[in-house]
């Protein structure tokens, strides 16, 4: 939690902000299309979705856990929404609410199983990832929903601010503010963080840790569904492979953003705006490297390296926040 920033200069966020600026500078001078209106608009759409995915993972990392089923939940929510709108003809707003409900429900299942069995959420969500995805494939027979209401898909291609920015980005930034408010200014948010930091102490202080963990998983599912909604409006269809095999394409950006952003992998500390900046940085890098014509393979290679560096950073961060504990 970034309580009372003593000196903004020393925070992780400031470092990230500098990196974002530096890379923007590098790419805008070394490539042609980087600052074009088209590219900036495209970037804003991708960034919006990556932020949302990062936030969805962040709230489970908060508990010291992981949500590998995130992508699968997202795709399930998207397909469910596609079915509601295209087949059942349910209007857009109720459909969106149903999708969010679906995401939360699948997250709730993850949470319940994790809490009741005591098995690490890594294992639980590894299993539910296949289960959710399998179910979805079976029910949809791997068919996409491509005839979504126009109003819905228009949102994904709308352009704001002199046609530079997608409204999707506004949704993600607003979500960041909402989460920041939740974690910093509400009792439930504080309890979620406390439960993640030291479950035993939190429990004895009158916090129902199990319930908090379930909430975190639900919130993760909710945000996953939100990311899926953004993605569906962007590509204009709900497609089973929209997040890759088993939804695994989401996992790398999902880890990268919060870990680079300063969320402690062991739980109990998070940074909402760090996650946002982390997502921005990763997307910028990927986009810039594309424009520099570095091959797809090398981009993945780079992202892998960045993930490793970020985890290393997490280790040192943990060492420093706990220094006097580990040794004293």
């Amino acid at each position: 939690m970034n309580k009372k920033i003593p000196n903004f200069i020393y925070t992780n966020q400031f470092g990230l902000l500098c990196l974002v600026l530096i890379f923007t500078l590098i790419f805008s001078t070394s490539t042609d299309g980087f600052t074009s209106r088209f590219n900036i608009f495209a970037l804003s759409r991708v960034i919006a979705i990556d932020i949302m995915i990062g936030l969805a993972m962040m709230v489970v990392i908060l508990t010291g856990g992981l949500n590998l089923a995130l992508g699968a939940i997202g795709v399930c929510a998207a397909m469910f929404g596609g079915w509601c709108m295209e087949v059942l003809g349910i209007p857009i707003i109720p459909s969106i609410l149903l999708m969010l409900g679906m995401g939360s429900f699948l997250g709730w299942i993850n949470g319940i199983i994790t809490v009741k069995t005591g098995v690490h959420s890594f294992v639980v969500t590894l299993a539910t990832m296949s289960i959710y995805f399998g179910f979805m494939t079976m029910l949809t027979e791997a068919e996409a929903f491509r005839r979504l209401p126009e109003l819905f898909t228009d949102f994904g291609s709308a352009k704001l601010f002199n046609k530079y920015v997608s409204p999707l980005l506004l949704v993600s930034v607003a979500t960041c503010f909402a989460l920041f408010y939740l974690f910093r200014f509400t009792d439930i948010g504080r309890k979620l963080i406390a439960a993640g930091a030291n479950p035993e102490a939190a429990e004895l202080s009158g916090i129902s840790v199990n319930r908090m963990f379930i909430y975190c998983h639900m919130l993760s599912g909710f945000l996953g569904a939100l990311a899926a909604i953004l993605l569906t409006t962007r590509i204009g269809a709900a497609i089973p492979s929209m997040a890759g095999q088993l939804g695994m394409d989401w996992l790398l950006p999902a880890f990268l953003a919060p870990v680079i952003g300063g969320t402690l992998l062991s739980g109990g500390k998070l940074s909402v705006f760090g996650t946002m900046l982390g997502a921005v940085l990763v997307t910028l890098l990927t986009n810039g490297l594309y424009l520099l014509d570095v091959g797809e393979f090398w981009i993945r290679f780079f992202l892998g390296i960045i993930l490793l560096l970020a985890v290393l950073l997490d280790r040192t961060r943990e060492y420093f926040t706990l220094k006097s504990v580990i040794v004293s």
């Binding site: 939690m1 309580k3 009372k4 003593p6 200014f185 509400t186 009792d187 439930i188 948010g189 504080r190 309890k191 963080i193 406390a194 930091a197 030291n198 035993e200 102490a201 939190a202 429990e203 004895l204 202080s205 009158g206 916090i207 129902s208 402690l264 109990g268 500390k269 926040t321 706990l322 220094k323 006097s324 504990v325 040794v327 004293s328």
Partner: protein, 502 residues
């Protein structure tokens, strides 16, 4: 200069916002026991951490056996024959007691594998020296704090160091266990020429075993290597706190209103308690006394719903109730539990002072849609933080950066803030200096006078006798008897000891 095996001269050490040591000087004579005293946050542990290579001094010299040395990490200290029991527990909770004890020199079989039989045999030897009856295969996480503390002492002894640093080794022990430790310490000083640095807030212990005394105040020397024979309790206290000690005498009359707020009838628990009967009246302080392992903490954990009560009745305000979680204990029945294990169960070390102190009150102070701001929290908890004189540069300091005693104050403060009807206090003054201890005692009495009912667990017999109205003596997860407390130390303590041994 050869009479000193360890010297620190004019050491300085600063942390952000705090000057922990300010020209501190310390000299340890060979084959002596040297007391290092001072209030919470005076810099004792910091000094010990410098001697053991955990921290590095900003300036000043560290001289070992007459030579100036630089220690870069704890391993360096081990090489000079320095071994330490830190104030905070450092055992690996998922390892067994035996594995922890032998961690630094694991016995191996001919094939180079770890020899678990040998671990058991060797660790048993060291446990026995401290009269500790623990199976070496027990997981550390299953031990009480006191037993962990004893294990850690056994571990330090097993290294056969020449210089032994003990940072509040007796904080969680009862006098009986401390006595065994002390005779052992005296023996290794006499027979093996070991030199010992001893930190404690219990002055009787200091007069009992120490030869020299160094007192720190706000990181500076209030006295350096004074012969204990030149000091008495009063002088020592004045050196530590700058004024005379205030003795808290309970002036409480025995409550004649019998307004039973909590009763346990024939309670059995899943942890093995049997036949527990207890009655707590409004404004009453009941003490639970017993040796390490008597099952006092465990009983209280069952009461607040952390573990299960399997049989018998719990009656609150005349109604039979079931408490199934600490949350319902706090929110429905207004029962709070101050844990004895502040590091594991009391505090969130990676969070700050404000968040830790307020964790019990968020639900109480929240406004519409759960709104809670730092300002609202400060308003609620600041009085408790300043009442207990918590030494911290700001409310945003991480708990892990506070001195041990100040951490303890926070774990008490958060429950004072909660304002419960029944407060279970488990070893409240562990590691707290005498000034704050007196203050806490006053506070507990005042809480009770104002209508809170208190169950007090303490291994500190004088504390128990000065605070409790009646004392329940427990042994082996059962109640051995109840002693009405007339606050006369000699008669009450002998009655307690009688019950312990029946």
């Amino acid at each position: 200069m050869n009479e000193f095996c360890l010297e620190i001269s004019s050491a300085n050490k600063s942390f952000p916002g705090v000057k922990a040591l300010d020209q501190a000087t310390f000299q340890l004579r060979k084959a002596s026991i040297h007391a290092l005293l001072g209030e919470n946050g005076a810099g004792k542990s910091t000094l010990i951490k410098i001697i053991t290579g955990v921290h590095k001094q900003d300036s000043g010299k560290l001289i070992i056996n007459g030579k100036e040395e630089t220690l870069n990490n704890p391993n360096d200290a081990t090489k000079f024959g320095i071994s330490v029991v830190h104030q905070e527990r450092n055992l690996i909770r998922r390892f067994s007691v035996g594995e922890n004890l032998m961690l630094n020199n694991m016995p191996k079989t001919a094939l180079g594998l770890i020899d678990y039989n040998e671990i058991a045999i060797q660790s048993k030897k060291w446990l026995k020296i401290l009269d500790l009856d623990i199976d070496p295969n027990t997981l550390v996480s299953d031990l009480t704090v006191a037993k962990m503390q004893l294990c850690e002492i056994a571990k330090a002894l097993s290294l056969k160091a020449k210089i032994l640093l003990l940072d509040e080794p007796t904080s969680s022990l009862s006098p009986q266990e401390s006595k065994i430790l002390f005779s052992l310490l005296k023996k290794i000083v006499r027979e093996e020429g070991v030199s010992i640095v001893f930190v404690s807030h219990k002055l009787e212990e200091v007069f009992n075993i120490c030869d020299d005394v160094t007192v720190l105040r706000d990181g500076q020397n209030a006295c350096t290597s004074e012969d204990i024979k030149n000091l008495d309790r009063q002088k020592l206290v004045r050196l530590m706190i700058g004024r005379d000690e205030q003795i808290v005498k309970s002036t409480r009359k025995n409550q004649n209103t019998k307004d039973t707020i909590l009763a346990l009838k024939n309670v059995k628990t899943e942890l093995g308690h049997k036949n527990i009967n207890l009655e707590l009246n409004r404004s009453e302080i009941i003490g639970l006394y017993g040796l390490v392992g008597a099952g006092r903490t465990e009983l209280m954990k069952c009461l607040i719903g952390q573990d299960k009560i399997t049989d018998g009745e719990v009656i609150i305000n005349g109604k039979k109730v079931t408490i199934n979680s600490p949350k319902s204990a706090l929110e429905k029945f207004k029962i709070g539990y101050i844990s004895e294990d502040r590091k594991k169960e009391g505090l969130i070390l990676i969070h700050n002072v404000l968040d830790n102190t307020s964790i019990t009150v968020w639900s109480q102070i929240k406004k519409a849609i759960g709104f809670v701001s730092d300002g609202m929290i400060s308003k609620k908890v600041d009085p408790y933080i300043s009442q207990l004189e918590v030494k911290t540069p700001s409310n945003y300091q991480l708990i892990s950066n506070l001195s041990g005693g100040n951490q303890q104050k926070i774990s008490v403060a958060k429950w004072l803030a909660a304002g419960t009807d029944i407060l279970i206090i488990d070893e409240p003054t562990v590691g707290i200096d005498i000034k704050t201890k007196a203050y806490l005692h006053e506070l507990i009495i005042k809480l009770a006078d104002d209508g809170t009912s208190i169950i007090l667990i303490s291994s500190d017999m004088p504390e128990m006798i000065s605070l409790a109205d009646k004392i329940i003596v427990m042994n082996n997860f059962q109640m051995n008897g109840i002693v009405e407390n007339n606050h006369d130390y000699d008669s009450v303590s002998s009655k307690i000891m009688e019950y312990i041994h029946t």
